[in-house]
């Protein structure tokens, strides 16, 4: 109940501050492959440049498609749970935002592609999500702001059976609770 009220307060803040400019809410399941491609690496360099560290991102930026916070999917190499160097900037933006908004929490959802053993893939998905979590907690995000859940290969975003689908499915999604 307290949690719910908190979201209500946050929502009210957004509505008043952002003047109803909520923009397209991104929810899981609505993403298409092309949207994913738009969101991944191409913009990451530029966007982080325009948001130098130290500038506080407001809660409203969670719903701003032009905010670096809109980049919420990180991709991984085969068999690997190592965060790519290019993705560290994205994680840092989220970590700084969360550290300055301790009332907001996220779920880090780990995923794997369909190849190999299902149970090993669940463990691999968790390892990926925990690698992201570790970077965030080192930057001041508290443990109870982050929940890690792994789906392994059970929830692919791309349904194909080739490299391009597998590349999209080896991922960690950053999901803001209530956004």
């Amino acid at each position: 109940m307290i949690k719910l009220m908190r979201y209500f307060v946050v929502l009210t803040v957004i509505v008043t501050l952002a003047g109803c400019n909520l923009g397209p809410l991104k929810k899981r399941g609505q993403k298409t492959d092309t949207q994913l491609e738009d969101n991944q690496y191409s913009k990451s360099g530029d966007s982080t440049d325009t948001f130098p560290a130290g500038d506080k991102l407001e809660v409203s930026s969670l719903n701003d498609p032009n905010s670096p916070l809109s980049q919420r999917v990180l991709y991984f190499e085969l068999d690997s749970s190592q965060v790519k160097d290019a993705d560290r900037d994205i994680i840092t933006v989220h970590a700084e935002f969360l550290a300055s908004h301790p009332e907001i929490s996220i779920v880090l959802e780990g995923h794997a592609d369909e190849r190999g053993s299902r149970e090993y893939n669940i463990a691999l998905g968790e390892k990926r999500a925990k690698a992201v979590k570790q970077i965030m907690t080192l930057q001041g995000v508290t443990d109870n702001q982050i929940q890690v859940i792994s789906f392994g290969e059970e929830r692919p975003v791309a349904s194909g059976h080739d490299e391009s689908a597998w590349n999209l499915n080896r991922r960690v999604e950053i999901l803001y609770t209530g956004y």
């Binding site: 190849r115 299902r118 149970e119 090993y120 059970e154």
Partner: protein, 437 residues
């Protein structure tokens, strides 16, 4: 009212989809060196017609084993129904070693009395003869029972025809929704029964050794948790729900413990849980992924997957009274991916998912000799499970972008495919002997 009727339609749709989800079996590779056997259609004594062809079921069973090559019906030179009618000389000319003859009596109360004899053609004598009472619903089971008797009499080993398989099916609904179902069927794919249906992923079913319960992983609450369900009453309970992973349940051979993977202490580690007291014993301690425990006979050890050496490989850890005894020892060295072990009941073989040139295949390691062989030819083969007699391995594979089940004999000689008419089928597990469905 609108809500009620839409609910009704939904129920009706889900019922019809269940009715269409039937497994069919295709023998994809017969076996060289299989023994020729003639199975004569059972003579029907009674009114009407028999509900199933016992001869067809028995012939399919024996052929699937890879040990026998049943004669086609058109090649039968005569159709005796009891041993005294058999002219051995003429069957010898066909070079058939064994002959099966029998009768089905339809009784007034709707049940059946099935008589059959297994005959040794060259010695000219009976090897086995039985009379079995069967209910209408049990005729398929009687046929599998007959197959078991024939198999054991000739090979000296237990048959596994009167057993079951459990597996997960996934069907797509409207708006890209998915439905996950936990199913049980006869080992030949017939008599499919859905025992749990969920909109969230299900995985890793494991049979209790008495065949009455299945442990499995369900995401019904948004994350993986372990449930145990009685297959007859369908009554289920949540057994394990710690923070993090609650995965890979495997019942101990005595049915009192579950080996499982938990990440509550930071990273995935293997534990053993006493099913009654729920007391946990931690088995592995490493910074790597440790998962997919599988018991050795007598609960003397666990085989599991670990990437502690940099890539997923199989390890063995000895157990003493359900506690770790000594350090884990690496078992696999072929290639850089060996995972999801399955151990034959006698502990002689370990089947696994092996990656070779980017393709995932089922391989088998003979523990004593260390002999390693790749048994399958697919790209995405996974989830091997041994028949309780250790002769066949059932596994999940992909065919034209659909998940199907296949089975291969441990020597790689015989192959069969079980396919669901629609949807994906995955994670097959073969039941122990004792299932009284």
């Amino acid at each position: 009212m609108v809500r009620v009727s839409s609910l009704f339609i939904f129920l009706w749709l889900s019922l019809t989809s269940v009715a269409h989800a039937v497994l069919t079996i295709e023998i994809t590779q017969g076996s060289e060196g299989a023994q020729p056997i003639a199975i004569v259609p059972f003579q029907w004594v009674g009114n009407g017609t028999p509900p199933v062809s016992l001869k067809d079921i028995v012939a399919a069973d024996l052929q699937r084993s890879g040990q026998f090559a049943p004669l086609a019906e058109k090649d039968l030179i005569s159709k005796p129904s009891q041993g005294s009618e058999v002219k051995y000389k003429t069957w010898r000319a066909l070079n058939v070693g064994y002959l099966v003859v029998g009768k089905i009596h339809g009784l007034d109360d709707g049940s059946f009395q099935v008589q059959f004899q297994l005959l040794d053609v060259f010695k000219g004598r009976q090897l086995a003869g039985y009379s079995i009472r069967s209910l209408n619903s049990g005729l398929r089971r009687t046929a599998h029972h007959i197959s078991d008797i024939i198999y054991k009499t000739i090979t000296g080993e237990e048959g596994a025809f009167n057993t079951h398989i459990s597996y997960i099916t996934v069907t797509r609904g409207e708006k890209n929704t998915k439905r996950y179902q936990l199913a049980i069927a006869d080992a030949d794919g017939y008599n499919e029964k859905i025992i749990y249906s969920s909109p969230k992923p299900l995985m890793s079913p494991s049979w209790s050794p008495d065949g009455t319960r299945l442990a499995y992983v369900s995401f019904i609450n948004g994350r993986p948790e372990i449930f145990v369900q009685n297959i007859f009453s369908s009554k289920k309970e949540k057994l394990v729900s710690f923070k993090g992973l609650n995965n890979a349940p495997r019942w101990s051979p005595d049915g009192k413990y579950l080996a499982l993977t938990l990440s509550k202490d930071g990273n995935p580690e293997i534990y053993i849980m006493n099913v009654n007291s729920r007391k946990l014993t931690r088995i592995t301690r490493s910074y790597a992924i440790d998962t997919e425990p599988e018991w050795l006979p007598g609960s003397n050890g666990l085989i599991f997957t670990s990437d502690r050496g940099g890539s997923p490989q199989l390890y063995e850890i000895r157990l003493n009274r359900y506690q770790a005894a000594g350090r884990a020892k690496r078992l696999t060295f072929e290639g850089n991916y060996n995972a999801r072990p399955a151990v034959s009941v006698d502990g002689r073989y370990i089947a696994m998912v092996h990656r070779s040139q980017g393709k995932f295949r089922i391989a088998v390691l003979e523990r004593e000799s260390g002999h390693f062989s790749i048994l399958t030819k697919g790209h995405l083969d996974e989830s091997p499970s041994f028949a309780p007699n250790g002769r066949m391995i059932i596994y999940a594979t992909e065919e034209r972008f659909r998940g199907v089940l296949s089975a291969v004999s441990v020597d790689g000689r015989a192959r069969q495919r079980l396919s669901l008419k629609k949807g994906d089928v995955r994670e097959p597990v073969w039941s122990p002997y004792k299932v009284n469905k």
